[in-house]
């Protein structure tokens, strides 16, 4: 395999965290290569057609795909080199193995920022493999990015923000959403997102689950049922709905394969989606010069991913010798902390502090 060495920073993943990391590092004088497996970077931002929460500093009120457009043009202006359609298939120390279209080569950098995001969790039930059962994020990609409806009548499984937002966006695209089922007795997503689809006439069934999807070559109907406190279906509560699509929005898991391979230390944090690489509050992992940002470091939101990206970009740039004023770190940390407040944010702030503590413990031992 051919080799390339970069006196600078390689960023893996061109979503909100990766774009912001690349932009921030480049603005501080670092040579930056941004690697993304899609033809165009932007990650999940590209299909987020809703307006973001946060404050003006977090680009609140701006639709996600516009934030992607802005960041990409800012990156280009700042001199970030973009490697599109490039898959990083392994990582050891600061060397990436890459496949660009059909060519494999490796790229050695002075620092690496992993911003690979998260992947959707699956749910297993009879019929879950039928064509028409798919991730809510998959449906969102087809609808908002490729402008194709994956089906016409949809059941959404999961009442978190992803399920509620994608249900709304399916309606906007012209699909019917027959309902949203959520196993918990309450919705974990924001009530304002639930209110949008309720006003639009979509029923939300809490304490309900999917029993089975049926169909000959693809989904034709789905049976749901109420469940008790132990998640057991209540006999007699079953109802069958004619649908051609079942969307699963049952959580996300940090996509940390490269960090595992490279040998980063991990800990399990259910509140952040599962195993996350231990990291400092500057987003450095237990491996020197390997950083993480965004959902790989714990599943949160695009707004927090942007801020973590900024911090990782600053830290990596500083680590390779670029001058970075300390005030910029403080400002980015402050913006990040402001997003992790209130009943939804407090727990994430707490867990993140725990991760940073465990990271520090690891550093002392080694």
């Amino acid at each position: 395999m051919a080799q390339r060495s970069l006196k600078g920073i390689a960023v893996v993943g061109g979503g909100p965290a990766g774009l912001m990391a690349a932009l921030t590092a480049a603005r501080h004088g670092a040579a930056v290569v941004l690697v993304d497996e899609n033809a165009e970077p932007g990650g999940q931002l590209r299909k987020q057609i809703h307006k973001f929460f946060g404050s003006k500093a977090h680009r609140a009120g701006v639709r996600g795909y516009r934030i992607a457009q802005e960041l990409i043009s800012d990156c280009t202006a700042a001199g970030v080199e973009l490697l599109g359609q490039s898959v990083v298939f392994s990582l050891r120390e600061c060397t990436l193995d890459l496949l660009q279209k059909d060519d494999a080569f490796n790229l050695k950098a002075d620092a690496i920022i992993l911003a690979t995001g998260a992947s959707e969790n699956a749910l297993a039930f009879p019929g879950c493999t039928l064509p028409g059962v798919m991730g809510a994020g998959a449906a969102q990609t087809f609808v908002n990015l490729h402008r194709v409806l994956p089906g016409r009548r949809v059941l959404m499984v999961g009442g978190g923000n992803v399920g509620l937002i994608v249900a709304y966006q399916l309606l906007q695209a012209g699909a019917e959403v027959v309902g949203v089922v959520e196993a918990l007795p309450y919705l974990s997503g924001y009530q304002v997102h639930a209110a949008k689809i309720k006003r639009a006439g979509v029923p939300i069934w809490t304490s309900h689950t999917v029993l089975e999807a049926r169909g000959d070559q693809e989904v034709q109907e789905v049976t749901i049922a109420a469940i008790d406190d132990h998640f057991h279906p209540l006999p007699g509560s079953e109802r069958t709905l004619a649908v051609d699509t079942v969307c699963l929005a049952v959580g996300l898991t940090p996509l940390a394969e490269l960090a595992w391979q490279a040998g980063c230390r991990f800990c399990y944090q259910g509140a952040l989606g599962g195993y996350v690489p231990l990291h400092s509050d500057n987003m450095e992992t237990t491996l020197p010069h390997v950083y993480v940002a965004g959902d790989i470091a714990g599943v949160e939101e695009a707004s927090t991913a942007l801020e973590e990206g900024a911090i990782a970009g600053l830290a990596a740039a500083a680590a390779i010798g670029c001058p970075v004023p300390i005030a910029e770190f403080d400002a980015a940390q402050e913006r990040l902390v402001s997003l992790r407040k209130g009943p939804f944010g407090d727990i994430r702030q707490l867990v993140k502090s725990e991760i940073v503590k465990r990271w520090a413990d690891c550093r002392v031992v080694e």
Partner: protein, 95 residues
């Protein structure tokens, strides 16, 4: 109606929940062991879809916390690629 045991867990290798439960009963109580026993996670996607489901089943059956279930080893490549692409060598060296 399909029974619980018939539910597909590993979509690539078509491993059912029943097969995984049998493996656990036979002593395969880690993701690594379940994988060797049943081939769950050894298909084209390399466990990317079923990994979490298998950890949940093991946790449930063995009474362990999901946090204590160590995932099976992550190996390259993280995406399917052809061996031919690794052989090619038509890039400039060191720019």
């Amino acid at each position: 109606m399909t029974t619980d045991d018939d539910i597909i867990i590993c979509r690539c290798e078509e491993v059912t929940k029943g097969e995984i439960l049998r493996a656990i009963k036979a002593g395969a109580t880690t993701p690594q062991a379940v994988k060797r026993f049943t081939r769950a996670g050894m298909g084209l996607c390399q466990g990317r879809t079923c990994r979490r489901l298998i950890a949940q089943i093991i946790a449930q059956e063995t009474g362990q916390s999901i946090a204590d279930i160590v995932p099976s080893t992550y190996r390259p490549p993280t995406r399917p690629l052809t061996v031919a692409s690794l052989r090619r060598d038509n890039r400039e060296v060191d720019r």
